[in-house]
Symmetry: C3
Subunit: 266 residues, 3 copies
């Protein structure tokens, strides 16, 4: 039994996602389709790129992970089928897979252009239905990747144009808020390994995190670690630094928004 | 393996949809249930009727399409099981299937009233759970439609009371905005064939679309066809005229709302 | 074929729920996963407790109902596997199962603490992924409950701290609004049996319901029973008293909110 996951920015108020599933099941009726989320901010490739890192490893080997965050639909951008040791990713060539490629063991990349495996009629605005869905279903049905198009050099794949955490002139490590979850927790782009290296370098036992004018010392174990209404820093379930507030929303507490800077004080 | 699709206005904040799935799986554990959307505007039969046209064809033959947008629940309205060449539709008799009937090849219509196939206890407010779900599951399990109730004359089915695009006194073709998607694209009720006929009649090479006081000349290929922040018209993935704005929301750009008129200028 | 249902407060904008499904399918690829809702208000244990009562009975025998509304994640609270005659419930020990226990026939309760069946790495903030999902999947795969931890005395399970409907000094029965659905219907905590007993006691043929300064006499059969824009009271699909307004939103009509009192007048 095969699995296809869907990550899109289509929302769920329209029939777009349901239609994709109809196309998939028409080709491979035995596949299990799992919605990751369809609420990536419209056309926010960076948010999608980070989200992928959070879920892909938790699926069984052989899962086909489909990503349709595709501002260039109908234009010149290519469609990639990227094979790692355990998974296959299907996504537009717009950088959305580039964070994944930094950490996963990529075996091959195919530029998908064999229209034999597309729907017969291709709209210019909904390749999720007309190309991504049938291709994904043909893959789970057993069509070899090399039949879907031509091999691409990994170096030719578009890279994400994103500022990663950097060391400022005063020695602080500066990251930012990547996303804010439903509980108001602020999820940053500063990974746990990066924090450990920073502390070792500066001989700090506990990191000191700064958001706005507030300093938070040390990492908490969980959201309940401190008393209510008190800010805390912790390593979230994605392995990145998060800012939370006990029994409250850090988003509201700090009037925080996506992109705001977060510092590890030297 | 059978498929049941669900289109409702129940939203997803309550347990209504999950409960329907429990009823379905209790009767036919092998069925695959696909959510189309549960965000039809509460009781908006017209929106649902147009949505159906967009997805139903993309599902495998034999799929049972269930539609529960049902302001008359618990009242006198009948429940229809409508069979076309490839599909079965289950919906209240309130006009929601009438656009479909204009284009699909209807084989028979049954007025579903055999309570043998309902849940034992019928609430007056949630026929989605108590009638639609068990009926759908018995259909995928193999119960013949004629066992679910009595045959109806197609002419007795309720028609949707909806203004279709019309020719105004000055010769313009006047349609309206049917729905607005997550990207702010304005989806109209003017189909591509209608546009082609209009242009042929008036010997226009390219249609001229008017929204508010803005004129848009010609159809674009895709959302990226023009430069950013510029309005464009195109045929969307549903086969209908859409108004978009390059890298922006047409909804915001035009302060547009559902029902606003859209014209093809003569 | 086994079924796992998911009730959480995770929302669907993040990848949390999708990730849980990946973990489940990695352990038991044959399971069917049904979303009840992920829109329980963040950490609202009372809302979740009432919701459970509405759906659990509609699923096939053997279904594993997973509930992750878990403000104490990463802290001291236990995780329960509770077996009734027909189902297994998996939830934090925070009272969320206590309404269910009032009505269901509980066979045994296990305190889940055998980390053999957890993911290898346990985060402090996402036990939905790291503990609830793998445990649920091992249960559907056939692992016996007694292998998951030690038996608990039912009397040691946390009870929900919730005001139930009570008789006021003047003899009125006072309940409250538990939740408001998408249509603006006000769902109360006053069950139908309680209403029948109250009417019998006071020799009323029809109950008189008071919300704010409005009195509603008698129960309607359905949402269409009275003319438009008129308030009505009825027994909803959950078996509880609901306040609705014909073709309108009772929430707007009464400026109602969760927790507002509703009275049966003596």
């Amino acid at each position: 039994m095969s699995i296809i996951t869907l990550l899109t920015d289509f929302g769920i108020c329209d029939e777009y996602v349901g239609t994709m599933k109809g196309v998939i099941l028409s080709i491979d009726p035995s596949v299990t389709i799992i919605d990751i989320t369809h609420h990536i901010e419209p056309q926010d490739i960076v948010q999608a790129a980070y989200a992928i890192q959070s879920y892909y490893k938790y699926f069984p080997e052989g899962t086909v992970h489909v990503v349709v965050v595709d501002p260039g639909v109908g234009g010149e951008r290519a469609i990639l089928a990227l094979e790692t040791r355990r998974y296959i990713f299907l996504a537009p060539d717009n950088g959305v897979l580039s964070l994944l490629m930094d950490e996963a063991d990529v075996k091959s990349v195919i530029c998908v252009d064999n229209s034999t495996y597309f729907l017969k009629e291709i709209s210019q605005t909904f390749h999720g239905r007309d190309i991504f869905s049938p291709i994904a279903a043909y893959i789970t049905k057993g069509v070899k990747l090399q039949n879907l198009g031509s091999v691409m050099d990994q170096n030719d794949i578009k890279q994400l144009n994103v500022q990663k955490p950097y060391v400022a002139d005063n020695g602080d490590l500066v990251g930012c808020i990547l996303s804010i979850d439903r509980f108001g927790n602020l999820i940053t782009d500063i990974g746990y390994n990066r924090i450990k290296r920073f502390c070792r370098l500066h001989r700090q036992k506990n990191p000191e995190v700064k958001i706005g004018s507030t300093k938070i010392t040390g990492l908490s174990e969980n959201y309940e670690s401190k008393k209510a209404k008190t800010p805390l820093a912790l390593i979230g379930s994605r392995g990145y630094l998060e800012i939370a507030v006990g029994n409250d929303s850090a988003k509201v507490y700090f009037s925080a928004k996506k992109g705001d800077p977060i510092r590890l004080i030297r």
